[in-house]
C-alpha cells in the first residue's frame, strides 16, 4: 500500500501573530471539544453516531480562515469543527450533541447535522455526497443575486465516488459558479482505503474531466491549507470558476466511535500522528517567538475550561418538550395554515402546528415512556449494531 503522507512543504510564511494565535486557539478548541465529546459519548450523554475529526483540524481551520464572513461553508456528518471554526458557541454545539433544547438545532440534528445560519455554516449532512448539489445551489443563488459571496464545500474522499460528485462538478463548471470543492482526503471512505475505493487516487484530478481544475494542499499544515484555499477562492470569486482542492490529511480516531479500526495499522496511525497539526503548528509558533510554552499551556487550560463550561451548559439544558416533536416541520402562513398529521401516540389526526398547542400533560402518554425512543442517559451503545447501516 502506498503511504500517502504528504511531502512536507516548504516552511510556509506564518500569518501575523494575532491570526496565528487565533488559528492555534481554534484548532485547540476543536481538538479539546471533540476529545470531550468522545468521553461524553462513552458516558452515553451523546447518542447516535459520533464522527470525530481529530487529526483534521488544520484542514478545517486553514480552509475556513480563507473565507469571508459572508461566504457559505457546507460540510458533512463530521462537522463539529466546521461549526466551531465559524464561531458557533461551543455550549450550543455540545447541547446539540446532548440532544437538548439549547442545541444549535434544538436537539433535532445531533452530531451529524449541525447548522448555524447566522454564521453561514450551512450544515453538516448525513448523506455522503448529498451536500455537493446544495453547495452548487448556494453558489447559484450568490451568482444570481449578484453578490460576490463564494461557497466552500467540504466532503470526504469517499464522496468523490458518488454520482452527485460528477454531476455537481459538471454543473458548477457549466454555469461558472463561485464554489470551491474541497476533498478532505483522510485516506479512508469509512473503513475502505483510498486505493480500494477510487480508481484514480490523485483525487485532485477527478474534476478535470468535468472542467474543474484541481489543486492540492497539505491538510496537516494549516498555513498551506489556508494559502491554497485562498487561491482557490480567489479563482472562484473573481474568475467565476469552480476549483477542486484535495487536502491530504488523516483522522487519528476511528470513522466513528463504533469503529474497531481493523483496516489500518497502528504504525500507519503513529506515522501520521507525528504530523499532528496542533502540535506542529504550536511548535512553529513557539519557534517563531509568537508564543512561549507557558502561554501555550495557558491557552490549553483556558480551552479545557471552556469545554467544561459547555458540558455543564449542555447537561443543564432541558430535553425538548414533547410538543417540540411537531415543530418546524413546515413554515405556516397564508397558503398553508396547517396539515393533517397522524400522531403515532393516538389515532386522532390533528391539524398542523397552529392547532397543536397541547401541554405535555395532555398527551395520552408521555414521550418519556415511548418505548422506541427512550430518553435515557444510560442507553448502552452496541458498537456492532451502531455500525450497521452507516454510510
Amino acid at each position: 500500500m502506498t503511504e500517502r503522507v504528504a511531502p512536507s512543504t516548504q516552511p510556509a510564511q506564518l500569518p501575523e501573530p494575532e491570526a496565528a494565535i487565533e488559528w492555534l486557539n481554534t484548532m485547540m478548541l476543536i481538538r479539546r471539544f471533540e476529545e470531550r465529546a468522545g468521553e461524553m459519548y462513552a458516558k452515553a450523554k451523546v447518542g447516535g453516531f459520533l464522527h470525530l475529526a481529530i487529526g483534521e483540524e488544520a484542514t478545517i481551520v486553514g480552509s475556513t480562515r480563507a473565507l469571508r464572513d459572508r461566504d457559505y461553508l457546507i460540510s458533512t456528518y463530521r462537522s463539529h469543527g466546521h461549526t466551531l471554526t465559524r464561531g458557533s458557541d461551543p455550549n450550543h454545539v455540545m447541547a446539540e450533541l446532548f440532544g437538548r433544547v439549547d442545541g444549535l438545532c434544538k436537539g433535532r440534528g445531533g452530531s451529524m447535522h449541525m447548522f448555524d445560519l447566522e454564521r453561514r455554516f450551512m450544515g453538516g449532512y448525513g448523506i455522503v455526497g448529498g451536500n455537493l448539489p446544495l453547495a452548487a445551489g448556494f453558489a447559484l443563488a450568490s451568482d444570481y443575486l449578484g453578490t460576490d459571496d463564494a461557497t466552500l464545500c467540504q466532503f470526504g474522499d469517499g464522496a468523490s465516488n458518488q454520482g452527485t460528485f460528477g454531476e455537481t462538478m459538471n454543473l458548477a463548471a457549466l454555469w461558472s459558479l463561485p464554489v470551491v470543492f474541497m476533498i478532505t482526503n483522510n485516506q479512508f471512505g469509512m473503513g475502505t482505503s483510498l486505493e480500494r475505493h477510487s480508481a484514480v487516487t490523485d483525487l485532485l484530478r477527478k474534476g478535470e474531466g468535468f472542467g474543474v481544475p484541481g489543486m492540492r494542499c497539505d491538510g496537516m499544515d494549516v498555513v498551506d491549507t489556508y494559502n491554497v484555499t485562498t487561491e482557490a477562492l480567489k479563482i472562484a470569486r473573481e474568475e467565476r470558476r469552480p476549483v477542486l482542492v484535495e487536502a491530504l490529511t488523516y483522522r487519528f480516531r476511528g470513522h466513528s466511535m463504533a469503529d474497531p479500526e481493523e483496516y489500518r495499522t497502528k504504525e500507519q496511525v503513529d506515522e501520521w500522528r507525528k504530523r499532528d497539526p496542533l502540535a506542529v503548528f504550536g511548535d512553529q509558533l513557539v519557534a517563531a517567538g509568537m508564543l512561549d510554552e507557558e502561554e501555550r499551556a495557558r491557552m490549553d487550560r483556558e480551552t479545557m475550561a471552556r469545554i467544561d463550561e459547555s458540558v455543564a451548559f449542555a447537561d443543564a439544558s432541558p430535553h425538548p418538550a414533547p410538543t417540540a416533536l411537531y415543530e418546524d416541520i413546515y413554515v405556516l402562513g397564508d397558503q398553508v395554515r396547517g396539515w393533517y398529521s397522524v400522531d403515532e401516540r393516538t389515532p386522532t389526526p390533528h391539524r398542523g402546528e397552529d392547532e397543536h398547542s397541547m401541554d405535555s400533560a395532555d398527551l395520552p402518554r408521555s414521550a418519556e415512556h415511548t418505548g422506541s425512543h427512550p430518553v435515557n442517559e444510560a442507553t448502552p451503545k452496541p458498537a456492532d449494531a451502531a455500525q450497521q447501516g452507516e454510510d
Partner: protein, 328 residues
C-alpha cells in the same frame, strides 16, 4: 385555456411578480419543455432565469434546495415522476428534512414539478402515478391538480409558499381545456378540497386525473342507476382537507376512493384508514378503493388500459357499497 397553458401562465405571472423565481430543468428552455409547459419563457425571461440543465436529476433538485435555502424560489421541472426517483435523496433526505433537522433555522421554498400517469404507452419507466410516495413524507407539500384552473392557482400558491412542494401534474391532462379566472391574483389555497359534484348517496374521492373519471362515473350512476354521487377532488394531499371529505361521508354514509397508483400503501389505503378512524359509525358500507393494477406499467395498449381505473370500475365499486351484504 389548456392545463399546460394554465401552468405556463402561472409560471409567467410568478416570474414577473418575483425576480427571485427561476426555473431549472431538462429541455425547458430552447426545447420549450418536454410537454411545452415552459414554452416561450426562455425568450421572455432569458437564460439567467430559465435554465436548461444537463440530465442530472438529483443534482438539479439539490441545487434547487441549496438556492432555495439562500434566497431564491426555484421551480425545478422533472420530465416524469419516474425520473424523480433519481432525485429522491434530495427531495426526501434534504428538501423535506432540512428545516426540521436544523431546528427551524432555514426554509426551503422549492417547487419540484413532475407529470405522472398512464395512457400513452410509455411502459414501465415513464407512466406511473406515485403521489403516494410523496404523500408519505412529512416536510413536503403535495399538489395533484386536475383542472386547468387548479393547475394555475395551485402552482402560483406553491411558488409563493415557503415550503418544499412536490407538484404532480398529469400527462393526460396537459391538453385538457378548462375555464381559468383571468386575474393575476387568482390562487388556490393548499388544503382546500373541491366538491366537483354534489350528491347525497355516496362520496367518491378522485385523485389527480381520477377526479375527472370519477365525475364521468357519477353521471352514469345518476342516469342509469339513480345514485347521486358527491365527487370530491382533494387537490392537495399534504395538507389534506379531511374535513370536507368527512363531512361528505357523514352525509352519504358511503365512500369510494379512486386513484391511478398502486393499491398497497396508496392514497386510498391511507385515506380509508383516516375515514374509518374518524367516521366509522357513519359508514353503511366498507370504504371501497379503485386503484391502478398492482403491476409495473405494461406497454401494450390492451394491457395498459387494464392497468389503470376507468369509469365502469368506479360504477361497480359504488354499486358494491349499496349491495346488501347480509344477503350473501
Amino acid at each position: 385555456m389548456r392545463y399546460r397553458e394554465a401552468l405556463n401562465s402561472a409560471l409567467r405571472e410568478e416570474m414577473a411578480r418575483d425576480p427571485n423565481v427561476m426555473l431549472m430543468g431538462e429541455d425547458i428552455g430552447v426545447f420549450n419543455g418536454a410537454f411545452k409547459v415552459t414554452a416561450g419563457l426562455l425568450e421572455e425571461f432569458g437564460e439567467k432565469r430559465v435554465r436548461d440543465t444537463p440530465i442530472s436529476e438529483n443534482t438539479i433538485v439539490g441545487m434547487g434546495v441549496g438556492a432555495a435555502m439562500t434566497g431564491l424560489r426555484p421551480v425545478v421541472e422533472l420530465m416524469t415522476i419516474n425520473f424523480s426517483l433519481l432525485a429522491m435523496d434530495q427531495i426526501v433526505n434534504h428538501a423535506a428534512s432540512i428545516r426540521y433537522m436544523f431546528g427551524g433555522q432555514v426554509k426551503v421554498p422549492l417547487v419540484v414539478r413532475m407529470p405522472q400517469g398512464a395512457g400513452h404507452q410509455l411502459g414501465p419507466t415513464h407512466s406511473h402515478s406515485w403521489e403516494a410516495l410523496y404523500l408519505h413524507v412529512p416536510g413536503l407539500l403535495v399538489a395533484v391538480p386536475t383542472t386547468a384552473a387548479d393547475a394555475k392557482g395551485l402552482l402560483k400558491s406553491a411558488i409563493r409558499d415557503d415550503n418544499p412542494v412536490v407538484f404532480i401534474e398529469h400527462e393526460y391532462l396537459y391538453g385538457q381545456r378548462g375555464e381559468v379566472p383571468d386575474d393575476e391574483d387568482f390562487t388556490v389555497n393548499f388544503g382546500e378540497a373541491a366538491i366537483r359534484r354534489e350528491g347525497a348517496d355516496v362520496t367518491i374521492v378522485g385523485i389527480s386525473r381520477m377526479a375527472l373519471t370519477a365525475a364521468r362515473a357519477a353521471k352514469t350512476l345518476s342516469e342509469e342507476h339513480g345514485v347521486e354521487a358527491e365527487v370530491i377532488d382533494p387537490r392537495t394531499l399534504r395538507p389534506l382537507d379531511l374535513d370536507t371529505i368527512l363531512a361528505s361521508v357523514r352525509k352519504t354514509n358511503r365512500c369510494v376512493i379512486v386513484e391511478e397508483g398502486w393499491p398497497h400503501g396508496g392514497v386510498g389505503a391511507n385515506l380509508s384508514a383516516l375515514i374509518q378512524e374518524q367516521a366509522f359509525d357513519d359508514l353503511d358500507a366498507p370504504v371501497q378503493r379503485v386503484t391502478g393494477a398492482d403491476v409495473p406499467m405494461p406497454y401494450s395498449k390492451a394491457l395498459e388500459q387494464l392497468a389503470f381505473p376507468h369509469e365502469p370500475q368506479i360504477v361497480d365499486a359504488v354499486l358494491a357499497t349499496f349491495r346488501d351484504r347480509t344477503a350473501s
